[in-house]
Symmetry: C2
């Protein structure tokens, strides 16, 4: 059954890179949140949904993690920005490709900044029907040091938010990893 644009449910999924494997690999919790959305919500109703993938890149503290800062030129800065963008796009490609295979409409884009604030800002701008976030499911002790994007967004995002915790069999030895 064809679904008109007005009745399509727009689900924003915030995705990030794996802390273990690095770019272009998606984090375990991002992939979990995405798969949950497909398996539990979208299912066979592929024309009823549009997925909106947001990847927020955290700016490097000094932007020089890969080179010797003494010799960095303006061109080096530019190539760093290009590299970051390319990495982000390759990360998003994973999700977009999967949507194309299944036949679910999607959009994907990159923003820079503090993930929790950027996600809430983009929710205000885009007004999705639902925001899906992966979560490492850390305990209160680990939370203090790591901070959690999902807790902040549950409180502050101006749309319904659902947090998908990692399955215990997918949790790495160090649960801060993802």
């Amino acid at each position: 059954m064809a679904t008109s644009e007005a009745s399509v449910t727009r689900i924003m999924v915030a995705v990030n890179e794996s802390t273990i494997k690095g770019y272009p690999h998606a984090s375990i919790s991002s992939k979990g949140a995405f798969e949950w959305t497909l398996q539990k919500i979208v299912m066979s109703n592929t024309s009823g949904f549009k997925l909106l993938f947001l990847h927020v890149q955290v700016p490097d503290e000094d932007g020089f993690d890969d080179m010797d800062s003494i010799y960095a030129s303006p061109e080096d800065f530019k190539s760093l920005k290009t590299r970051d963008r390319a990495r982000g796009l390759r990360l998003l490609e994973f999700f977009v490709t999967r949507c194309h295979e299944i036949g679910v409409a999607c959009e994907a884009w990159i923003k820079k900044g503090d993930p929790k604030k950027v996600i809430c800002h983009e929710v205000r701008r885009i007004q999705p029907d639902l925001l899906v976030l992966g979560s490492r499911g850390l305990g209160p002790f680990q939370r203090v040091f790591v901070g959690t994007v999902s807790e902040f967004c549950v409180k502050h995002a101006e749309c319904p938010v659902v947090t998908i915790k990692r399955r215990s069999d997918e949790t790495p030895q160090d649960p801060v990893d993802d």
Copy 2:
């Protein structure tokens, strides 16, 4: 397309009575959470979902709000319990009837106790794929006095939880009302 039982998504919706209109009327936020689930998640995929309605009744402090406690007999207690159950069933009837009209499978049941604890207990027992809760969207000041079921469940329920806030045009003059 027929959907096998295994791939049906089971959504638990916790519902309560209106504080303004009383039984058998459902609260504004319960109805909002239910309508959101139908319009944004279920849509035309009625065979893909099963809705599980849980209504938790808070025991009266003394069980005598409708009669003079001095003259209460054991039969009075029994009739109170029967009355409570009947009221709860009529509340649930609203949701069940609507599901039957649309053709979505559902179940509904009543429990007694502290709503936030009972909901989390039932989530552990039933293991739904998603818990949908209506919320009055109270500010921090009102929260202190009212307590919020949704905040507790977002933290403690062992399944993904989504909280649906009331639309501003549905918020009564006193936002504690529902």
